[in-house]
Structures are given as C-alpha cells and as structure tokens.
Subunit: 297 residues, 2 copies
C-alpha cells in the first residue's frame, strides 16, 4: 500500500469499522510523523502503521512511531526479531506479515501479537514460496496459536467469509482500497485497477524481490530482459529507482511499476473507503446468515 495509504485512507477506514493502516513504506520519517498526527486528529478509533522493515531510516521511523504514541504496528519484509521486543516494551501491539508456515512460526516465536499470512495473489512484494491464500491460511492455522489475519485476494464480504472459514480470525485488505476515493494513488492508476482483468497481473523480478504488478510497458521490458538471461545486476539497472512512485503516485502507467493484487479483476468502481468497509461487512453478514437457510448438502 505504498503511495496509497496515508492518513486520509487510514482514518476513513478506522472511522467506518475497520483498522486503518498508514503505509510508512513510501514516507520519510518526518512525513510519517505528519500523517500520524493528522490521523489522530481525524479519528478517535484505533489505527496502525505498516512498516516494511528493510526500508532505510528504520531507526528514525520506529522512533517517530514511539514518540507519536502509535498503538499498533504491522511489520513486514524483514526479521520480526529485530523490533518486536522493543515495540512491545513500549506497549505497542505488533503484527507481522508472512508468506509461509516457517515465517509464521518465527514471528510467533519473536513474540508478535498476531500474524498476517499473505498469499501469492497479493499485490506488490510477495513470498518466494508462491503459496496461495486458499492453501496458506489453513496450513498456517495448523501451526500457530496467536490470531491469524488472512491477506491476498480479499476484496469482498464473500472473500472475507471464505478466508475466515479457511481458518483466519480476520482479514487484511489492500487492493480494494487502492480504488478508494481517499487513496493517495494517482487517478490514472486507480482507473487502471478498475480495468484490470484476471491474468493482467504477474509476479516477476523474483531474483530481486518477487513483486506482483500489472503487465504494462515496464513489465514487457522486464520480460524482454529475461529473454537475454540477465544477471541480478542487469535487473537492478532496469528497475532503477522510484518506479513505484512514478507509476502509482505520479500516474505514469507505461514506465511505472504498478503494484496490485489479482483481485483487481473484481474491482469495478472507485468508492469512499467507508462505503467499501460497509459493503464488505454487509455482504459478509448476509452470506453468513443465508447459509443457514440454504439446503444442506
């Protein structure tokens, strides 16, 4: 959710019954501080900050989170041992994002309060095991005892209910909120998400860090480079810097890196975040109730 989830989106979600997250991945420490303060002013409900642990200036980012009194942190893309104890000693709830049973167990051992298990269909950076939400959730559930949040492929109430039937205690939803009014993504990228169909995203750049993105011109360039048996260095040169910002924040749909999940194929309209949350909860409850009166097989 880099370049998407600032205080506007996070506070709207928190105000409408979800737990909004500020995505710190695209923010320098002082910008994050500003978003946290604005979020606190915009909602009285709990919200969190998502921190990709491998990003630069991590000590400063963590310091800002502690100084500003953030109560919930979601960590990803790094070792959960590095910061969990520190954050928990400050009274902060820590949730760690994983893509496998092995990493779920490591996170639990590191003392996190809950785990997000994210499947292969998720947008953006993604696990090397390529395990899908449908199989990852029940497998992780078998091994961990702390709460389990499912992610990857969830954008609707039926998806939420399916994930919870597979073993999740809750769900994390990203892609759906990219196409929210409050997302800070460029309008061109939001519209691109609406027009995406099944098969329009692909996991690539596995030698660097696997990432799911829309098959745009930049993706085609990556594919062409692959046909020449590139080194990791060649891929790094092509990727360059700032591709994600260029695509998702500045709206350059050709040269930018457009991170979104497979479930984009099921997203048709840009809506206010509050409406998205309400629709998901309404559909979740409706289907759950309808199951009882439907025929038992």
């Amino acid at each position: 959710m880099v370049w998407n989830s600032g205080y506007k989106l996070a506070s709207s979600v928190s105000n409408s019954g979800g737990l909004g997250l500020i995505g710190a991945g695209s923010m320098r420490p002082e910008l994050l501080r500003e978003h946290i303060r604005k979020c606190q002013k915009s909602t009285k409900n709990p919200f969190g900050v998502n921190v990709p642990l491998l990003y630069p200036e991590m000590e400063k980012i963590i310091a800002v989170i502690v100084e500003e009194g953030v109560k919930i942190v979601f960590t990803s893309a790094g070792n959960p041992k590095t910061w969990t104890s520190f954050l928990k000693n400050k009274g902060i709830i820590v949730v760690h994002v994983v893509s496998s049973v092995k990493f779920a167990l490591k996170a639990q051992e590191a003392g996190v309060d809950a785990i997000v298990a994210e499947g292969f269909e998720a947008g953006g950076h993604n696990g090397r095991e390529e395990t899908t939400t449908f199989t990852l959730i029940p497998m992780v559930k078998e091994y961990i005892s702390i709460p389990l949040i499912a992610a990857g492929g969830i954008a609707t109430g039926s998806g939420m209910l399916a994930a919870m039937i597979l073993g999740a205690d809750g769900v994390q939803i990203g892609s759906r909120f990219v196409a929210s009014e409050e997302s800070s993504a460029h309008i061109k990228f939001k519209k691109q998400v609406l027009s995406a169909k099944d098969g329009d995203t692909f996991l690539t750049l596995k030698e660097l860090a696997p990432v799911r993105l829309i098959r745009n011109k930049f993706f085609q360039e990556v594919q062409e480079l692959y046909s020449e048996n590139p080194t990791k260095g060649d891929l790094e040169v092509l990727l360059g810097k700032g591709r994600v910002r260029k695509g998702m924040f500045e709206g350059d749909l050709e040269k930018g890196e457009l991170e979104i999940g497979q479930i984009a194929g099921l997203i048709y309209k840009i809506k206010p975040a509050a409406e998205i949350v309400q629709e998901i909860i309404f559909e979740y409850n409706s289907i759950k109730k309808s199951l009882y009166i439907r025929k038992h097989y």
Copy 2:
C-alpha cells in the same frame, strides 16, 4: 490425476457420495475400456472420465467412451469446441476445465454443461495466467451462467465451503485422493505427498506446459538447466518421456515428475476414498451449521 485415478478410486468415490472420475490421461484406449467396464461393475452411481484433449489417440479414446456408454466426460488441456458437440449429440454431459475467465467463456460458448475453474495452487498441469482459486472463482462466476466447479487447493470440508462461498456450485478434488488407499499411485509417492509442507511444490517448465510438482531431484535439475538460459528444446530433452509414470506410478522419487497441489501440505494420512468423502461432507455441514450460532461481526 494421471496414474492415480483408475476404476478403483473412481468407483469408491462414486459409491460414497462423490462423482468419481477415471483419469484417461495415462491410459491407452483399450486400458481405458477395461477401467470403464470395471467401474460400471463396481458402482451403480454416476461416474465420469477425465480426458486431456491434447493426448495422442484422442479419436480412439472418444470412441471407447461412446461405445462403453460413459455418461459424463470432463475435458481439459485443449479446445472445448473440438469434441463438445459430438459428445453432447451422444447424450453425454460435458464439463471443461479452464484457468481463466476467457477460457471459461469459450467453453460456455462451445456448449459445455459446466465448467471447472482451476487455480494456480492445483497440482500437475496448470494455466499460464497463474490466477489462484481464491480470485479465479468469483471472477469466473461473474461471467458465466452455467454451473461452476472450483478446483485447486481443496482437500477439506472447510475448503469446499470456502470455494462455494466464493461462488462455486461444487468442487473438484484431486490431490487429497492421491493419498487414498484406492489411488493407483505408488506408495512411495503417496508417502511423499503426506510429508510435503507448504512451499514444497512449485510451478515450473512454463515454456513447455506449466506444471506444479514436488521440488525433488528432477526439479533441481530443471532449476540448474534454467540457470543456463535453456531453449525450449533443451527443456524437452531434460524432461524426456515417461517422467510422470516413473515418479508417480513406479515410485522413483528422484528422477520422476511428482505432480501434486499446494494443499498436499494439509494431507497427513492415507485413507480409504469413502472415508475422505465422508469427512469432507461432514466437516462442510458442521462448519456451515456452526456459522449461524457463531457471533456475527
């Protein structure tokens, strides 16, 4: 389900409440005829034959199916237009396996009676779009009006219920029945399936036909070849012939091609097929009923 699903497995499933399928992919026409006849003697319930359309001797295979009075055919790996009208004119129900919305629409247009939509997590041959069960099912459901059967990642009653909540009218289960007593797979392969964990299977050989298999010695050889920027021909030479038979039927776990789905990580015991069917239905009904009395969120 090549080398797994002969008349023993198919009739056991049909006798216990499922629709058993004979996998014709590993059978010459006269062997298929023998399995159909034995299946007819072993069950009075409906059963079907799964036919990968790209296999050799297709005209003879189809002739055997018609001559022996098979009532249900599942086709895959080929154009649904080729045989659907012919089979339907003989009064046979035709179901076609797809991996995308596009192919689902083509199959519906070809006049099939139902569609199997199979996700990326499925074992064996697999779609190029890499769309997962969790996202493929609701997307296909949006576009087709005929019955939709979900496949890929389903081995339990909770998986069946989750797939149906996502939009499926029924489910197709493969991997779970590999580890059944009646599967004709080699016992060494069945035990390998039991010991598989999440991340132990991988989709590879995409230049030929994408296939999900266990990361055994043969898989490592494929990976090593990939590091040398192989041509399609190089991959074909390494693959050779009879790898699947060698691995799954003869039990050569090193040199064989071991096709199984990601959900193998959730399979712990070899059981009679009837017990597997009963457990799935029982769990499906139990969870469905329990949802009503559980707290509504």
